[in-house]
């Protein structure tokens, strides 16, 4: 079988409305905001969501912590039964559907699909159970019967389905820290395949509740340390020293353009291009060549040139080598592109893992309306290896009109993902 040349594929605006996928709702909780508007305001005001944090075995550290109202969409029993990732997902999905203006009571729930990206799932619950049975001399008779339903990989998506009575397909997409974008991409694909009419797509993370993630990043020399929590996550700065782990979630309502138009929905952007590829070179170290290829593939599929992008939301996590390598990839792809501006959201909220890609895109989407590129904060001394023309540092920048946003999200085992959203 001969694969089609992506450059020969029709670009989005040449497709019929039934094949065009648009965003009609955004729901989220981030360490610095529990709805889209307050999150955007925090990004424009330079407000961090990183706080002191302590977790068993590991001890004192820093984390991006969410304080959403868990009872807004869940009963106490649902919260007790489920997982934090599920709860975050339920909240984000509930907010997204509310925001979308869908007549939810009359939506055919068998035609709703749930596609939720996760970096990892089950570590929190497994650690909890081991901690619990330690008090019973490791007798597994005391191991909870809730363990399996909490740790199956589809749990966060399944909890959304249970909570909202959705009977269409639901599953998670395990894609390390590229998962938020991967969830969006999966949702778009399923709409195009007519597997569903509404896709709830994005990502969720409960990662701050597993000590293992902190301990592992620490052992890797990749966990951020700073006296001031708000300054700990500092991609591109010479003093960056690692990742701040965060929790959070972001779910989009995606619909085919034809359906969105038919119901008169407000459209917040059109997904015009995407790509996922793989480094196949290392478990943890990124590969700028493959990252650049991924960006170029997404651009080609969208029928766009690099120079047409207005905002590139970087993945940079605050590690010494990772940030520089992404900048190397971006420098290569966007060389000479005067229009493009680069920013980074992890500098505010830390790394929300499976939710990162979806959250970071959400923080930038309002630029279609207000024309402002939020900055990367905490850059006191720009690392020359991270210098990019158009890097927006510490202060928001008025861009005038914004037509395209490109969102990078990369993950361990060499997974790269890119989505491109067009103003509608």
């Amino acid at each position: 079988m001969i694969a089609p040349d992506p450059s020969s594929l029709p670009s989005s605006h040449q497709l019929p409305d039934q094949q065009r996928v648009v965003i009609t709702g955004v729901g989220l909780t981030a360490p610095n905001g529990n709805d889209w508007a307050s999150y955007r305001a925090a990004l424009l005001e330079g407000r961090s969501g990183v706080q002191p944090y302590e977790i068993r075995y590991f001890g004192k550290t820093l984390a991006g912590i969410c304080d959403y109202d868990t009872r807004k969409y869940q009963t106490r029993k649902e919260i007790r039964r489920g997982t934090r990732a599920g709860s975050v997902g339920v909240y984000a999905a509930g907010e997204a559907v509310g925001h979308s203006g869908l007549d939810w009571d009359n939506v055919d729930r068998s035609r709703v699909g749930i596609y939720i990206g996760v970096t990892e799932h089950g570590n929190v619950e497994t650690e909890n159970e081991i901690h619990e049975i330690k008090g019973y001399d490791y007798n597994t008779d005391y191991w909870s019967h809730h363990h399996n339903p909490r740790t199956v990989a589809n749990n966060p998506a399944g909890e959304i389905a249970l909570n909202m009575g959705i009977t269409g397909p639901h599953y998670t997409i395990g894609a390390a820290c590229a998962a938020g974008n991967a969830g969006l991409i999966q949702g778009a694909q399923m709409l195009r395949l007519d597997e569903c009419d509404v896709a709830l797509a994005g990502g969720t993370s409960e990662s701050i509740h597993t000590f293992g993630i902190f301990a592992s990043f620490n052992s890797q020399g990749a966990l951020a340390v700073h006296d001031n929590p708000a300054e700990a996550s500092r991609p591109f700065d010479t003093e960056r020293n690692g990742i701040v782990v965060a929790e959070g979630g972001c779910v989009y309502v995606l619909e085919r353009l034809s359906d969105a138009k038919a119901r008169g929905a407000e459209i917040y952007g059109e997904l015009v291009g995407y790509a996922i590829n793989t480094d196949a070179t290392d478990f943890v170290l990124p590969n700028p060549e493959r990252q650049a290829q991924c960006v170029r593939l997404a651009l080609r599929r969208a029928g766009l040139e690099a120079g047409q992008m207005d905002i590139v939301s970087t993945h940079a996590t605050g590690t010494t080598s990772g940030d520089a390598q992404e900048c190397q990839a971006l420098r290569e792809v966007f060389a000479g592109c005067k229009r493009v501006h680069f920013n980074n959201t992890k500098s505010y909220i830390g790394h929300a893992m499976g939710a990162a890609g979806a959250l970071e895109l959400a923080g930038n989407l309002p630029a279609f309306k207000d024309g402002v590129c939020h900055p990367t904060i905490n850059v006191d001394n720009l690392d020359p290896d991270c210098a990019l023309d158009g890097l927006v540092l510490n202060e928001p920048q008025e861009l005038g009109g914004v037509e395209y946003i490109l969102n990078n999200s990369f993950g361990m085992l060499g997974i790269n993902s890119v989505v491109i959203i067009r103003r509608y």
């Binding site: 106490r76 029993k77 019973y136 005391y142 019967h145």
Partner: protein, 86 residues
């Protein structure tokens, strides 16, 4: 423990398992399921909590004994009468 104390323990467990329920009007003679939204996983929670809190083992064949408060207390009385309430 007296029967009243065993009942208190069960109420305490139910408050954790079914935190949205009002247990004040519970009729001890009626089955839990007729009065509360409890499913099989919740009943396993009752069994697990008895095991964790009081080291009381409830074998699977005895689960039907936990149908109502009255039957639960009657079933647990011989297992818990020698336990001193904290």
């Amino acid at each position: 423990m007296t029967n009243d104390e065993i009942r208190e323990e069960i109420i305490d467990i139910l408050e954790d398992i079914a935190p949205d329920e009002d247990l004040g009007d519970l009729d001890d003679e009626k089955s839990f399921r007729d009065q509360l939204e409890l499913d099989s996983m919740d009943f396993l929670d009752i069994v697990m909590e008895l095991r964790k809190r009081h080291r009381v083992q409830v074998p699977e064949e005895d689960y039907p004994q936990l149908a109502s408060m009255a039957s639960t207390v009657a079933y647990l009385e011989p297992k818990m009468r020698d336990i001193v309430k904290n």
